[in-house]
């Protein structure tokens, strides 16, 4: 009796875990919703001399599609206070000049670690207008709580 129950319990719960895995795998590989995992590297001490970071800023690359080339450093974002139109698909290309930072926009699924030596990418389509808060969510020093900016979507 107990054996039988244990078998049922383990089968159902492991089954749920497997279903979970399948959903995550499907979202990652079929829907392209996987976590930010870009693999290019860069010399963290020469960031400002290397393209594209020698020219950080917001660039329109197609109709209502933008690339934001951004440098994170203690304790700010360059460029800061960005503006994009409603419905814009925005590709962020980021790296850090010093320590590890985070790039998070509350209210969206934008959340990525930005580390020195590595280029990180994340994309998002801003469907709703508004003033979005951008924060660093990895401790980066004494002014970490001041490291924020905004994205205005009009």
């Amino acid at each position: 009796m107990q054996h039988r129950l244990e078998e049922i319990w383990m089968t159902i719960s492991v089954g749920i875990l497997v279903v979970f895995m399948i959903i995550i795998g499907y979202q990652t590989f079929a829907l392209g919703m996987g976590p930010p995992s870009h693999s290019e590297t860069i010399d963290p001490q020469k960031v400002e001399q290397i393209a594209p970071f020698d020219d950080p800023g917001v660039k329109e690359i197609a109709e209502n599609e933008y690339e934001v080339v951004m440098i994170l450093q203690s304790f700010g974002f360059n460029p800061s206070n960005i503006e994009v139109p409603v419905g814009a698909e925005v590709h962020f290309t980021m790296t850090s000049k010093d320590v590890t930072h985070g790039f998070q926009v509350p209210g969206t699924n934008i959340n990525a670690m930005v580390m020195p030596g590595h280029i990180q990418k994340i994309s998002h389509t801003f469907k709703e207008p508004g003033n979005y808060l951008v924060i660093c969510n990895e401790y980066c020093g004494i002014g970490h709580q001041a490291m924020s900016t905004t994205i205005t979507v009009k």
């Binding site: 990652t28 930010p36 998070q104 209210g107 924060i135 924020s148």
Partner: protein, 559 residues
């Protein structure tokens, strides 16, 4: 020998067993350090809670991140490690009939090394030379003495590991053809994990020492981070193994029942030991430089650890039901009423187990790639580990105190102390529900962790977090009251409670239990399997990180 020992246990448990007094001193010393750390760490926790709620401002000579570094290290490393060692060495002494003299010496050596290490680390934090948080991610560079202190702590833990390995081997040599007592088996599992967990972080720290001294110019931040989580995540399951040792072995006895199948318990221990270390990658799900397929593999590896947890849930349920029915509980749930809810030695670990259902569910969210992206580095995570370690593990530890400490100090648990324990447990539970519950919710709204009080320039998103941050302060206040009661109880039972004998409540097997097969003792094989799993998980990504490494980072101080 084993058979006759079993019979003696049946007939008169108190006659032969017990922790001998020299070993008791070792354990009591470790427990003393544990609860002093808890007190200091708890006070710092309240400071954080109040600061984040905007209710206090720190003086100019103290910054939030110093406090947070100390809170993290004192509670996460010092409290849990010293408690576990004190408790497990007592178990070993009890189960194997005393520690060998050289093992006792190793335990004392470990104690001294750890104290020296912790003193170095804490001094650097206090001097504001090491505000790098407990994860000390480079290129944030602390003072070299901070890292050297960490080396001492690791050496201390290794001394304890070797002590356990030596005593265990000695016993097995003298008892050919027998399986070790279950408590010794658990202890072995924990220290095997401690040893292999600490390898990664030791390599990391050894590369950071010359770098922080300026002898080496740059370091690889990605590799350092990965090695850190090899350790950091395994630590989590070290606590977990310590906690379930109490659930499986002591709780059944306390409720007047028998323990679950010995063989299955050992299987759980073996699974936790083998499957554990690769979980570390779920702390790096949104890192660059790790491919999505590797991350997906690690979702699988992290979730696999749920399997022994599910087995544990089932086992505990069976033990409770069986015991409750034996005590006369009727109907579908009548057996629940027969459990000794008024006994703190049961209530505390019981709440710990219940909270693990929520903690485990939260863990599954954390490790699932896309969901992780929503909560990574938000207060959700802080809520998660205050439920898992702060309740599932810590309440189990608290519950253990009420029999372990009187036993070691040859005193008694009085009904009054039991009542204090019940009150403590309830305050702790309510405090954690409030604090951790609000942390979970506000995390979903985006409130970042490890961030001192800020309005982000008056932004409305940040304003929406404020009510929840007020609740952190409420929960934190209750928790500090809980800490104070617990520390009082511990030292009262250590030095002032009435003299007497307290039972070491080890549960016995069911009468009809089949003997445990000898293959469970094949530790060499378990370690080979552990290493194979580690290799599967780590060789590809680390080789990739090294081969495709960017130019390294110099040491940077941003505080």
């Amino acid at each position: 020998m084993e058979q006759s020992l079993r019979e003696t246990i049946h007939e008169n448990p108190k006659k032969i067993l017990g922790v001998n007094s020299q070993d008791a001193k070792v354990s009591l010393s470790y427990l003393t350090v544990a609860f002093v750390s808890l007190l200091i760490g708890g006070i710092l926790g309240l400071v954080q809670g109040l600061e984040r709620a905007g209710l206090i401002q720190l003086p100019s000579w103290l910054n939030y991140y110093q406090v947070l570094t100390a809170h993290g290290l004192l509670l996460l490393v010092v409290f849990t490690a010293t408690f576990s060692i004190g408790y497990l060495y007592a178990n070993l002494s009890h189960a194997l009939g005393g520690l060998l003299p050289k093992v006792r010496k190793l335990a004392w050596t470990g104690f001294v090394l750890m104290i020296i290490g912790v003193a170095m680390v804490v001094t650097m934090i206090v001097l504001n030379e090491a505000s790098v948080l407990y994860t000390f991610y480079p290129p944030l560079a602390a003072h070299p003495i901070f890292y050297i202190g960490l080396v001492f702590v690791v050496l201390g833990i290794w001394a304890c590991c070797f002590g356990v390995f030596i005593n265990y081997r000695h016993w097995r040599k003298n008892h050919p053809g027998e399986v070790t007592p279950i408590l010794a088996f658990f202890t072995m599992g924990v220290f095997v994990l401690w040893f292999f967990a600490s390898l990664g972080v030791t390599i990391e720290v050894f590369t950071l020492i010359p770098w922080s001294m300026g002898l080496v110019e740059t370091t690889n931040v990605m590799v350092a981070r990965t090695l850190f989580w090899w350790f950091g995540h395994t630590l989590v399951n070290i606590w977990y193994l310590v906690a379930i040792s109490a659930w499986y072995v002591f709780v059944p006895r306390i409720i007047g029942g028998r323990h679950f199948s010995d063989k299955l318990i050992r299987l759980v221990v073996i699974l936790v030991v083998i499957l554990n270390i690769p979980g570390g990658f779920h702390h790096q799900i949104i890192d660059p430089a790790i491919s999505q397929s590797i991350k997906f593999l690690h979702v699988f590896m992290s979730l696999s650890i749920a399997v022994p947890s599910l087995m544990t849930a089932f086992a505990m349920f069976v033990v409770f039901e069986r015991t409750g029915r034996r005590l006369g509980g009727k109907g579908l749930l009548g057996w629940l009423k027969k459990l000794p809810w008024g006994d703190v030695r049961f209530l505390a670990p019981m709440i710990a187990m219940i909270s693990f259902i929520f903690g485990g569910a939260g863990g599954i969210v954390n490790t699932s790639n896309q969901l992780n992206q929503v909560i990574h580095n938000t207060m959700w995570v802080v809520g998660h580990f205050h439920i898992t370690v702060g309740v599932s593990v810590v309440l189990t530890f608290f519950g253990i105190c009420y029999w372990l400490i009187p036993h070691l100090s040859k005193r008694k648990l009085t009904p009054k102390m039991n009542k204090i324990g019940i009150i403590q447990t309830l305050i702790w539970t309510v405090g954690m529900i409030i604090m951790s519950g609000s942390m979970h919710i506000v995390g979903l709204l985006g409130d970042p962790r490890r961030t001192s009080d800020t309005t982000y320039g008056g932004h409305e998103a940040a304003a929406s977090w404020v009510p929840f941050e007020m609740l952190f302060a409420v929960g934190a206040t209750l928790l500090l009251i809980g800490v104070i009661i617990q520390v009082y109880a511990v030292f009262n039972m250590m030095f002032f409670a009435p003299k007497g004998n307290t039972e070491y409540p080890v549960a016995e097997p069911e009468d009809d239990e089949t003997p445990t097969p000898m293959w469970t003792e094949r530790w060499g094989l378990w370690i080979v399997l552990l290493l194979m799993v580690v290799a599967m998980a780590y060789v590809v990504p680390i080789v990739d990180m090294l081969l495709n490494a960017p130019p390294g980072s110099p040491p940077i101080r941003t505080w």
